[in-house]
């Protein structure tokens, strides 16, 4: 099975290589090749909303982090940094503020001015004023915000629709990978919701496409 998976990954890499070249020329930050079908790039000044603080939010950081951007993570003491590093995050360029308390808005603002991507889990549902202030700051400083939780006015919303872990039997085996269906909706996703099946994570912790159909889809889009 892994052989076929590998083939699929290679096929996708050859196709996905082209749009990513285009993306890097414009003012965007790259995303992992497996996620490019959903979101070709992270546009600067944009807010992406992700449900929950799981693997998907860390996977979004990985693409930008790999390409040399500094990333900040606010309010996620439970973030599994080993998983992030397996997905491709460069831990040397990661700043963690685990317990910002009441100052989370100020902390996020300070980080938005300095780093490229900030992953934030707001402790409460943010008020409209706060949302407006942070979005304006992101736009001004050319950084982008990933909100792990509800965020009014986000341009793309990513969520995991179905997820299945493989590798566990009754009493033996170990977790090998999780095949998930990710759905992207919202203004930035281009009108209709798009979906993709990916291994999040695969057996070595990395993110790879989990269905050949995705390769065709993204080829059409490109």
């Amino acid at each position: 099975m892994t052989g076929r998976q590998q083939q699929a990954a290679e096929a996708l890499a050859s196709v996905a290589g082209k749009p990513s070249d285009v993306a890097s020329e414009s003012t965007g930050l790259p995303v992992l090749p497996a996620l490019q079908g959903l979101l070709p790039m992270l546009r600067r000044g944009q807010v992406v909303e992700v449900d929950g603080s799981g693997a998907l939010s860390l996977a979004l950081l990985a693409g930008a982090s790999q390409s040399g951007s500094w990333c900040g993570v606010v309010g996620m003491p439970e973030g599994g940094m080993l998983a992030a590093s397996e997905m491709g995050c460069d831990l040397d360029r990661l700043l963690l503020v685990d317990h910002p308390g009441d100052r989370w808005v100020d902390v996020t603002a300070a980080l938005l001015e300095a780093v490229d991507v900030v992953l934030l889990r707001p402790p409460v549902r943010p008020q409209t004023g706060v949302v407006r202030r942070l979005v304006a700051l992101a736009r001004k400083s050319g950084s982008m915000l990933i909100a792990a939780g509800a965020w009014e006015g986000s341009s793309v919303r990513l969520r995991v629709e179905s997820s299945l872990w493989t590798g566990l039997e009754h009493g033996h085996g170990h977790l090998r990978g999780r095949r998930v269906k990710i759905v992207a909706e919202g203004r930035g996703a281009g009108g209709r919701p798009r979906s993709a099946w990916v291994w999040l994570p695969g057996p070595d912790g990395s993110v790879s496409p989990a269905e050949l159909a995705v390769v065709h889809d993204s080829a059409e889009v490109a």
């Binding site: 500094w70 080993l82 685990d98 317990h99 910002p100 300095a114 566990l168 039997e169 999780r178």
Partner: protein, 509 residues
Amino acid sequence: MTAPRALVVWCPDWPLTAAGTDPAVPALVLASGRVSACTAAARATGVRRGQRLRDAQRYCPDVAVLDEDPEGETRAFEQVVAVIEQSCPRVEVIRPGLAAVPARGPSRYFGGEEIVAGMVRDAVLERDFVCAVGVADGTFAADLAARAAFEADDGIRLVPSASTAGFLAPHPVPVLEMPELAGVLVRLGIRTLGDLAALSMRDVLGRFGSEGAVAHRLATGLEARPPAARSPGDDLSAQFEFDPPIDQSEPAVFAAKSLADLMHAKLGERGLACVRVEVEVSTADGQSRSRLWRHDGLLSSLAVAERVRWQLDAWRTAGQLTGSLTHLTLAPDQVVIDTGRQLTLWGQTENDEEVSRAATRIQVMLGHTAVTRPRLAGGRGPSEQVARVPWGDTAIAALPADRPWPGRVPQPAPAVVHPAPLPVRLVDASGTSVTVSGRSVVSAPPSRLVLGKEHLAVTGWTGPWPVREYWWDRSRSRRCARFQVATDDGRAWLLVVEQGEWFAEATYT
């Protein structure tokens, strides 16, 4: 041009004295894996500074191991410094356990170096601290004299100005505390300070650079660096006024960091370095305290800020500083010409300036440990495999990650690692808790995972993976078993069972 007379008070094995250990009990202090201090009883069995813990435990199996605690040491040493200060002003703390004072003034006032040394020794002994006092030309020689004095009956050693070079000559080269240089010198057959002093200054400087020159100056009984002649008008100190006055030490420590930056910049643009830095604070109720710390042009701004933190902490604990702080001043004391320092070619990565500014800003808001960077570390569980290192700190005492860790939880790693494991229940089909026997036999296949009010059906499980860690160390020893469990909501869990209690250590989500 000889060095000014200095009086050094040495309290042997200070880290252990500060921790309240009896010298008759074998104990040692461990700093980054090596012995940094040990009691007399431990030394008698063969334990030495710089040994690995394993070697030390081979010599002395029942030795008590303590962790390094620089703040506690400073706090305790404050008592000694306060006692010395009663007879001699301008006490300089070289490090906790070692203090120096200029001997000339007090000896003229009290009528002789021997009288002053005796007074200081008696005053420290009265507070129940063991000490030895040495007086010689320069702090380096006085330090060695104090160590020699410890062997003597009365605990005092005076080295007259004329015989300082003769006193230094028989000491072995490693007392310079320049391990790399000492290694080379010993291999060249230069084993004592006398051998080194016999060489010409020019040759030593030509062969070993400024570090060699410092060593040569010390070996001949001079100060480490020539004093710098400068116009007295220059104000090299840096001052900060707190308005409104502050009660906590954290903001003062951050102010100290920027003050140290400013002071280093002022010194740097004149090509100078300072031997000591004076930390001075004043409070709203009119108190003022100051203390000298050894600097030698080697401390970074962060290291200076750290010393300010220790010092404020020590003063507050001793009750010598009660009001809110209004002023903080850092002043360079005894300015010398900066001979430069070679940075290592690799391994000192520069951080992005903007990022470092933002990180410092957040540290000012939330405290030093609030901003961290993840580092991979060694361990079996997911929480042990990542260490969070505060921004600006480099040294971590984490276990190496690149070793085989048999029994490590296999890849992929969980995306959510709970900072505190969540208590859960794992029950079988009949509703009773699943148990694991001492021989790793599971009582019944699990069928449901109970997480607070949530009941999740188990779709797949594996385990137990027994873990038996640090069985040789009672405080860290751990015996548990791990399970991976997948539930019907698409999540999977890393569960751990320890003494019959189930916890969710991490969630694969």
